[in-house]
Amino acid sequence: MLRAATSILALLLLVSGAGAAAANELTFTASAPRACDAPSTLRLLLKDLEIPRNRAVTIRAYAKPAQGDESFIGLFAVMGDSATAPGNRKMPEARITATPTFRRSLEAGSATAPLLVILRPFAGKAALKDLDWSVGAVEWACR
């Protein structure tokens, strides 16, 4: 089974939300992912994602090395059930597939230092500053 063959590369810990409250982003410290063997796909797995059922959310993920610029990893989007739906949607795992551009940057570089993974919630271009949401942890995985 393809899914059963998924290999977890690194478990990342939630370490920081400080200074990010204004943008309502979640920040994780991560080891640098290694490039997956072609044609495998590099994925960022969001563990225990929880978002309100009455909100449509697009989560954009970025990677930021200690010294260097942010780069876009990919995104995950889910519609809301209804504007009046109560409660939260709890997802054991949501996956973000790394864009070809991000994968190429990994293949070209040799960075091994930890980096930040930043998750930002949007609806289209609009940042969702008031969204009450959480992610338990993130992991890199190759399929």
Partner: protein, 460 residues
């Protein structure tokens, strides 16, 4: 794959795209209270008619941004008629409100336990939904060649909403929606409409959820308003152009590689979806029926993968009667056979099939075929009531040393000629006349056959 593997695969499939763990174990209706609108289909849906065949001509769905002025007018007229129907007859399942409820009801809305997202029904269900929606729109404007447009948001030049849906941006435009977050002229974030990662997947179980999350979900969220929620998304007409593009990407992915196939399990292929058609008839359609949208649903996608393909209609032909052969050139319609044919007059597609006709092979020539000798001698072609059609013989070589084989059968459309045929009480023959022969005394020859059948087209 054994049962355990299948369940494991399904569990991973659902988990990967974010379905609730609870939803895997118990019906959603038991774990969630009803919310939002009541959106169950109207009337009795317990006795469905299976979808049959579609024999319309194949027409392209085209990018919404490339529609001509008259095509936009037609698109707006179709949605206006659908909206008007919702007002004039709220119980009509073809009205716009009921059309939007179809999506709501199949997405857990109003307490429904059905959810076509987050699983392997996502693509086939939406394809079937758009198909019946499109047929209804076409019927409402009297044009069954009408096809939905698609919003090709992955095209950098088309990141604004197609102007037909925003101009004018008020209630006088049946394609507008006042609740959108995305205004006229606003552009999508380039990352919202990127299908590259989905298209790079190599199997359906990965491709479908990847496409569903993004760009499908991210475009819904970017448009905002009704489009943001499962229960209201279809209230925005851009929904159908958006999903036509999602459907096109499935089509593109399928064409990109021979290994890119839909699931082949009987369970998936036989899974059925229910919709009202343009005649208000409740239809069920299987996943297997929607996989080949070109041959079966009669549309293709214009644009990057444009291919103009002419397909033969895949209608089934059912034997109605075998005519009596007195000898190879003398045919008679029996009284019982006549009784079988009479109900078909003016109603059904009908064919006359000649089994193993013995065509002349002495030279290359084109012939007209009649079933009345006097008409044959007059040789007025299609103007004659007993004219059946034409047939050509082309020899293998000029010296005719190598004889060509005879055809096993020849079929002729006799829909408009059935009454003339049933009126004949006496025996008759088939007569060949060279096209170049002039009446009123053209040279005719009888065409021997080994059987004659009348067939009717199986209605879709």
């Amino acid at each position: 794959m054994d049962r355990k593997d299948r369940e494991e695969s399904r569990r991973h499939f659902l988990a990967a795209i974010g379905a609730d763990a609870a939803a895997l174990l118990v019906p959603a209706a038991l774990v969630r209270p009803a919310f939002g609108q009541v959106c169950a289909p109207p009337g009795n849906t317990s006795n469905p008619t299976p979808w049959g065949r579609d024999c319309r001509s194949i027409q392209p769905r085209r990018p919404a941004s490339t529609l001509t002025g008259s095509e936009i007018t037609k698109l707006k007229a179709a949605y206006k008629a659908m909206r008007d129907l919702a007002t004039s007859d709220p119980s009509d399942p073809r009205g716009f409100v009921h059309q939007t409820h179809i999506h709501c009801h199949n997405c857990g809305g109003g307490g429904s336990s059905i959810q076509v997202h987050f699983g392997d029904r996502f693509l086939p269900w939406h394809r079937a939904y758009l198909y019946f929606h499109e047929r209804i729109l076409g019927a409402l404007i009297g044009d069954m060649n009408f096809r939905l447009p698609y919003w090709d948001w992955e095209n950098p030049a088309h990141r604004t909403m197609p102007s037909a849906y925003t101009s004018p941006n008020n209630s006088t435009n049946p394609l507008s929606n006042s609740l959108r977050s995305m205004g006229p002229g606003d552009t999508l974030d380039p990352t919202d409409g990127q299908p590259a990662t989905a298209l790079s997947e190599t199997n359906f179980a990965d491709f479908s959820p990847e496409l569903e999350g993004s760009p499908h979900g991210s475009i819904h969220n970017a448009v905002g308003g009704d489009m943001s929620f499962f229960d209201t998304a279809a209230k925005d007409p851009i929904f159908y152009a958006h999903h036509a593009n999602v459907d096109k990407l499935w089509s593109d992915w399928t064409k990109a590689d021979a290994s890119h196939t839909a699931p082949t399990t009987a369970a998936w292929l036989n899974q059925t979806q229910g919709f009202f058609d343009e005649n208000k008839k409740w239809r069920t359609i299987r996943n297997a029926d929607v996989v080949d949208h070109e041959a079966k649903l009669r549309y293709i996608y214009a644009g990057r993968t444009w291919e103009f393909v002419t397909w033969l209609c895949l209608r089934d032909w059912v034997l109605v009667d075998r005519l009596q052969l007195l000898d190879t050139s003398r045919i008679q319609l029996s009284p019982a056979g006549r009784q079988k044919l009479l109900p078909l007059i003016g109603k059904s597609e009908t064919r006359l099939r000649l089994i193993s006709p013995q065509l002349p092979q002495d030279r290359s020539a084109s012939y007209f075929l009649y079933y009345d000798e006097r008409d044959a001698k007059a040789n007025r072609g299609p103007e004659s009531s007993s004219y059946l059609g034409s047939v050509s013989v082309v020899l293998m070589s000029k010296d005719n040393a190598q004889k060509m084989g005879q055809p096993r059968k020849l079929d002729f459309d006799i829909k408009g000629k059935l009454k003339g045929l049933t009126d004949r009480s006496a025996e008759f023959s088939f007569f060949l006349v060279e096209k170049t022969q002039k009446g009123p005394n053209a040279a005719v020859s009888k065409l021997p056959v080994r059987g004659v059948e009348v067939l009717r087209g199986q209605e879709a």
